[in-house]
Amino acid sequence: MERYLARLYARVSIAWIVAAFIVAALLASTGAQAQDFITVASTTSTEQSGLFRHLLPEARKALGFDVRVVAVGTGQALDMGRRGDADVEFVHDKVAEEKFLAEGFGVKRYEVMYNDFMIVGPKDDPVGAKGRDVISALKKIAEKQSPFASRGDKSGTDAAEKRYWKMASIEPPKGGWYRETGSGMGPTLNAAAGMNAYALTDRGTWLSFKNRADLAILVEGDEKLFNQYGVMLVNPAKHPHVKKEMGQKFIDWLVSPAGQQAIAAYRIDGEQLFFPDYKP
């Protein structure tokens, strides 16, 4: 009897698995056929803040097609556009974006929204960075050589951070206290939490970051900390396959009152993260 059961079990498993293979093979291959979507290259900080989770379902309802976001660092996102692997760029590094336009890879840059950066750090603030002045905070951190976790990954946040150091005349920051993780905002905050270090982060990622350990917001509200997001259609002249109608529709929706409202409506714990600022 036992032998019979074992045999049956084996036969059923094999049959099921064979069937599963075939089904899976079919599914995986047909899944790619659907063409009604656009690919948006965006940044990890935007993704990790949860904005797209909130925004994209509304976009789908309004537009009738899917918006697929590939979230990588700003540098990599723009490179994707250069290669033609994205239809729309949604990043936050004005200098890099204008370079992208100048190279002819983008059609037109729309300012869509901003959020702000902050400096977070150990809540007992050993260097006395707390306040509204980001530059003086960075100077104090460098002077006291207090641990600082940096992204170092060509992202918009990283580019902004490097600009602040430059403004503080500390360029480039060097020493064992300055640690580049080469990764996204989340992992960098993880590293900062682990090292009890200071870091520059965007509000969105911070608000949805759950592993804060002893970190707290220390510097915010400085005008310099405002972080502008821009959106561009990848130039179909350079990449004819770009889905220009759908891409443009998405951009039009983002800057429309409906889209701008959707952006403003996104909150974490009641706090607004992104501030729509499109001016026609």
């Binding site: 074992a6 599963a20 590939v70 979230a71």
Partner: protein, 234 residues
């Protein structure tokens, strides 16, 4: 520690409660891993067996290359597939970058050398035992391949399980060629990576528990099959 336990409890709740996002990710993972295991085995099992039974010019080089591919870092495979499938690359016009198909391709390339190498090993041992008698019966080496595949079906099934497990565990290559797109190419492993980096442990743990359970179940199944075949089935 309290945090981890709390997260763990939340994770169990997500699983038991049938959280739709969680299960969507699990099902997508199973689909792509099953598909890649299927393709890798469809090619790799006969390939490995053929190499075992047939001596041909360059056979040694093929064996060495297979073993080298085994040791290939998976992110390198991911990078290569990415470059191939990118619009700027040779296969760009297929438009399958950042789709599940790209994941299936990358995973298949990773699993194929494993399946071929393992099946070659088993087939070689079996062929040593069978060669004379089968040749005497008039079976050519090529004809012997399907015979060995069927005869070794129990053992080769464990190879299939190993291939599936390898595919299901892949993170780096899947991240690169899939883009980890929410709802489209986000699988268990890339989800765990993302949620962990966001510091959102419950979902990551929940997925981790499921992934672990699947891998353990596969290994248990493989073990049970080996035991069952060794005693009494023949």
């Amino acid at each position: 520690m309290h945090d981890i336990l709390a997260s763990f409890a939340l994770a169990v709740r997500l699983i038991a409660g049938g959280d739709p996002e969680l299960w969507r990710i699990v099902i997508l993972s199973l689909e792509v891993s099953l598909a890649s295991a299927f393709f890798a085995c469809a090619i790799g099992l006969p390939l490995g067996t053929f190499i075992a039974v047939r001596d041909f010019p360059g056979r040694h080089a093929v064996v060495v290359m297979l073993n080298a591919l085994l040791g290939l870092p998976s992110v390198v495979v991911g990078l290569v597939v990415y470059l191939l499938l990118s619009r700027a690359g040779p296969l760009g016009s297929m438009g399958i970058l950042f789709t599940p198909s790209a994941i299936v391709i990358a995973q298949t390339l990773l699993v194929l050398p494993l399946v071929a190498a393992l099946s070659r090993q088993f087939a070689e041992d079996a062929w040593r035992e069978y060669r004379e008698q089968l040749t005497s019966l008039g079976v050519s080496p090529a004809r012997a391949v399907p015979t060995l595949l069927w005869d070794l079906r129990i053992t080769l099934f464990t190879v299939v399980l190993a291939g599936f497990g390898r595919g299901a565990s892949e993170v780096g290559a899947v991240m690169i060629v899939g883009g980890n797109i929410d709802g489209v190419t986000r699988v268990m492993t890339t989800s765990i990576a993302l949620e962990t980096s966001k510091g959102d442990l419950p979902l990551a743990l929940g997925l981790g528990v499921i992934l672990l359970t699947i891998v353990l179940a596969l290994n248990a199944l493989a073990f049970a099959i080996r035991e069952w075949s060794a005693h009494g089935h023949g």
